[in-house]
Amino acid sequence: MIIASRSSTAGVSLRFQAAEAALLSDLADQVDSMLLLGSPDDPALARLLPNAYPDDAEAQRDYARYTRSSLIESKRAAAQQVRDATAPVGERVSTRSDASAAVIPDGDADAADADVVVELDESDAWVWLTFLTDLRLILNERVGAIEESTPEQDQRDDYLSAAYDWAGYLQGSMLEVLDPTDK
């Protein structure tokens, strides 16, 4: 269960169960790897780096040449920021002093099981919102990508679908806090 609430600053405060935080960190790490190593033919990568000139191949080549590396760089930086803020205790790296994840001690529970609270100011919140969008674009492309239906494949699709819904729920919860007038 994720809880999004108004932060003391203009941003948003997120509380995750340890397992949820670990899952998000792992997904963010995979997104980062995909952006670094992904094949240009990967349809999921194409979703993240769309064609700006569908009817003009030459203009598209120029557009890609000038924008691709900076888009990949900013998307990787977003994935890394989310990965680091939600990494399991011991692996966590605080990359920003104003958006550091803090572990809330929970009675006698081991620190590893404690909820993870992430405080985001408005600009960090944008980093998270855009990462969650990229993550959902990738997951949406991956579900059902392999047509052959085997128990393993169905299980994989169930997992990807659950992660997709969960990321949407997280993003929606954040937006309700950040943009309440939109309701």
Binding site: L48, P50, N51, Y53, T67, T133, L137, G168, D179, D182
Partner: protein, 96 residues
């Protein structure tokens, strides 16, 4: 006194003003939350809540909406920003 060597080229002026008519088009993508799309329009373009909502609904209902028009370079910057936000955006030659 210097002589003007080149007459003003009226054709190229016309072409120049036509060249400014480019559009940033955002396309519907069922993956993106409607609240997210309108929040992007408001935050990035500085549209009012009502205008951002109107454009978001146009994307949702019509499949696409022109969210900005102007010089090509500016439209490329907008499209790059939209791609940064994970929205599907293209550049169109506008109808003058």
């Amino acid at each position: 006194m210097t002589r003007t060597l080149v007459e003003p080229d009226l054709d190229s002026i016309t072409i120049e003003s036509l060249a400014s008519a480019w559009n940033t088009v955002v396309w519907d993508d069922p993956v993106n939350l409607m609240t997210y799309v309108s929040y992007v329009f408001r935050s990035y373009f500085g549209y009012s809540a009502d205008e951002a909502e109107r454009l978001m609904l146009q994307v949702h209902n019509d499949g696409r909406a022109i969210v900005a028009s102007g010089y090509r370079e500016a439209m490329e910057r907008h499209v790059q920003a939209m791609h940064g936000y994970g929205l599907q955006a293209t550049i169109d030659r506008g109808t003058p």
